[in-house]
Assembly symmetry: C2
Homo-oligomer: 475 residues x 2
């Protein structure tokens, strides 16, 4: 760590803003260029990207010419209404993040996921698959489906989104699913409360045909690049290494240093053009995580300010919902990025972890994520880059030692210990606590932005920003 910090201070140049390119890099594919990608196949560069799991990227959206027919077909089938999280999974499946899965899991896939975190393919090879991607139905839905072999999936406005074919219905043992996925059955797991506790007692698997690309119309769809689009982008940039960084919070100083240093290390290893996939998670997150729209604004700032070089950085949204299942989930995060073309994956302390919902401790051992990732079946092709950065809030001295002097934050400045507040907060304080956590991250981000922009730090100015709302970002 000390060595890295020293080499950083010596070698890492502070990027000057390169405002003329950042916009294009932040949203590399607008819809027009997406179409042009589909129309003109990209020339393969000599260093081919890592192969998707199963050898071929799964894409489940029906050709545009068949959409109307498929929609009419759907209207005649038994119907299942999707929750927001269900829709996010349809999105994930439709673009092949979970390749070679071709739809919601049947029982054989579900059992392999729960017990082995992996799937054995027909040829005997193994791909990683650690999270169940399943669709639940209740007794009455099951009865309505009756003898049908296909069902239609509807969005919240009752529009048909997809058809699920060759269906298989099997029991949904929620307790076992939760225990084997999270390693606990304690009440208060965010995904469980949102998507499992009230779910039906049956799961329905099958092969998906998705009627049209999933869109959310939230102003961020243009940032939601599919694995196929990301691969095209990496190829266009002649990337000979792609290193992915999953995050669900604003970029902080530690992240930025880590990503910069990773590129330096890859160059030292002989790669000519390592490209960073900065890949914020865009699906369901818990209430006290910073909302996606704010995170995206912050990521945009990071590129605008040139701290990450837009020339070799692609920012895009990963559409998966978040389980907070620690070592089990980090495998999913890594596996999905293989399908998007990444052959290096950065993993830090306690990935996808959270505090234990009942006990006063972290739910997972902070080192288990990277250990499990390095041993996971089906991820042998992926280069795992473990990294441990100190807590910004608890170990500010250690933290500061990583930061080049010209960017270093005065040690007299302390960000509130939000994690602590959150854990000790009573239920009725959770809302305000969530805001504090949000602000805490925003503080970190503001500190970092200010430091980068101004090159010096005024603690009293920062203090004054601490409890204003997030709109300071737009100032």
């Amino acid at each position: 760590m000390a060595t890295m910090a020293a080499s950083l201070r010596m070698k890492t140049p502070i990027q000057s803003p390169t405002t003329k390119t950042h916009r294009a890099n932040f949203s590399p594919r607008q819809s027009s260029s997406m179409i042009s990608y589909k129309q003109k196949p990209i020339r393969r560069i000599s260093c081919a990207l890592i192969e998707p799991d199963g050898g071929k990227l799964v894409e489940l959206v029906v050709p545009e010419s068949q959409r109307d027919v498929k929609k009419r077909e759907a209207m005649d089938l038994p119907k299942i209404k999707l929750s927001r999280i269900d829709l996010e999974w349809v999105h994930v499946l439709s673009e092949g993040w979970a390749s070679p899965l071709t739809g919601f899991m049947r029982e054989s896939e579900f059992l392999q996921t729960l017990h082995f975190n992996s799937l054995r393919l027909g040829d005997g090879s193994v791909v990683n698959m650690s999270l169940p991607i399943v669709l639940d139905i209740d007794d009455s839905q099951k009865n309505r489906i009756s003898g049908s072999t296909s069902v239609a999936l509807l969005d919240s406005s009752d529009n048909p989104v997809a058809v699920l074919n060759n269906i298989e219905i099997y029991k949904h043992n929620k307790e076992e699913r939760i225990a084997r996925t999270w390693g606990t059955t304690a009440p208060g797991l965010p995904y469980v409360e949102e998507a499992i506790t009230g779910a039906g007692d049956w799961l329905i698997g099958g092969d998906l045909e998705v009627i049209q690309p999933i869109k959310y119309h939230d102003g961020l769809d243009c940032y939601r690049l599919s694995p196929s689009q990301l691969r095209a982008e990496f190829e266009k940039r002649n990337a000979d290494a792609v290193f992915a960084f999953q995050l669900r919070n604003p970029v902080h100083n530690g992240h930025a240093l880590l990503m910069t240093d990773t590129r330096r290390r890859l160059l030292e290893m002989g790669y000519k053009n390592p490209v960073l996939l900065l890949h914020p998670l865009g699906g369901f997150t818990k209430a006290d995580d910073v909302p996606l729209s704010w995170r995206m604004k912050q990521h945009q700032k990071v590129l605008e300010d040139g701290v990450l070089d837009p020339e070799n950085t692609v920012v895009s949204i990963f559409p998966s919902p978040m389980h907070y299942a620690g070592p089990t989930e980090v495998q999913w995060h890594a596996k999905a990025r293989i399908n998007a073309g990444a052959n290096f994956y950065i993993v830090g302390r306690d990935p996808a972890g959270m505090g234990h919902p009942v006990e006063k401790r972290d739910l997972y051992d902070a080192d288990h994520g990277k250990k499990v990732l390095s041993m996971a079946p089906g991820l042998e092709r992926l280069n795992i880059l473990p990294f441990r950065w100190p807590h910004t809030t608890r170990h500010s001295r250690k933290w500061n030692s990583l930061i080049p002097p010209e960017l270093r934050i005065s040690s007299s400045f302390r960000v509130p210990r939000c994690g602590h507040l959150q854990r000790t907060g009573k239920t009725h304080q959770m809302d305000s606590c969530a805001l504090v956590v949000g602000k805490c991250w925003l503080n970190t981000m503001i500190v970092w932005l200010q430091t980068t922009l101004v090159g010096s730090l005024n603690p009293s100015l920062l203090e004054s920003l601490t409890y204003t709302n997030g709109s300071v970002l737009e100032a």
Copy 2:
């Protein structure tokens, strides 16, 4: 099922008792022949037995010449006293049932077991390993060990049993271990209550050197053949297929039919001499299972009465403790038998399962065991023989359809629904209920023995035997 029953009625001859050989076959290796096996290597037959996991059978008992030295060495080390279950695991490890494990798991093996039910070896190959084989210590034991790299393991009389070398101490997250192993954290799991709830907060892994073969001095040690001894026995018999049958209860009619039919099927497949390994589990079992000594008496009867042919049956004790962890545990049961030379494994309904400790249902789906087994990493070499037999107690009509007419039990006779009694029994009734369960199995066994011996059934005679104790077996 119907086909099999029909073919059984037509083809399966009723064995006449072959009393002259049964004794030798039931306990094929007395201590003298064990020694002769070690002194004279057995000639390999042309059809080699299946290779042990990792290519070489692990054996951890130090040579006799070094025992005294090792014992003195142990006395100078920090000491850990073993529970009965710990000792059973030392036994399991010492004989290579868990090959290629060379001792209690270190964290890397523990994590792979919890998450993947398998271990990746140095050469990239994968072996199955679904149950954590771990040794817990508490804070004060951890402190006493301090900087030592080895510890001595003592039995209940403080005799040194083994030395654990190159130790690694790591956290024992009991909740996560239980959730990932059993798929529930509900209170009342027998192994959890016996061995985990009160266990220390640390686990200690390392390489074992076992000072002398583990013996229990209960009159049954001669039946505890090691994998190496079993392999020698199968080779001596020129077995070209070995099919293992794990059980923790008396053999009942369904079992017997199943084993007989399996041999028939293997002969039809072209094997010349399939040998049955009838392999009762001998370690920890829950209070309401029939004790090992009674089960062994019953198994002996089965051979004496010639229902299983002693010429091609080896009865031996599997020293592992029982987890009752269903689909997770059945993998361990199968994997251990590979190490003993079995290349076929019979699996029935709900293997290693039990009732949910809190809810009124089975803990596991009755079909998951065989499904998980057929998909488990590291068990690809093993031929899984799934079989479903009806409950004796609940579906007597279906059950009867399997039984040749001359052995069939009158449908007016019903064995008490002990499972039901047990589940509805209040806590204070558990003891008597456990006895009922024991008797229930004994009833089944008595019915079966009587039917086999007499060739006809007298329900009133059976009724009179129902609530006498197990000593009728010796009558």
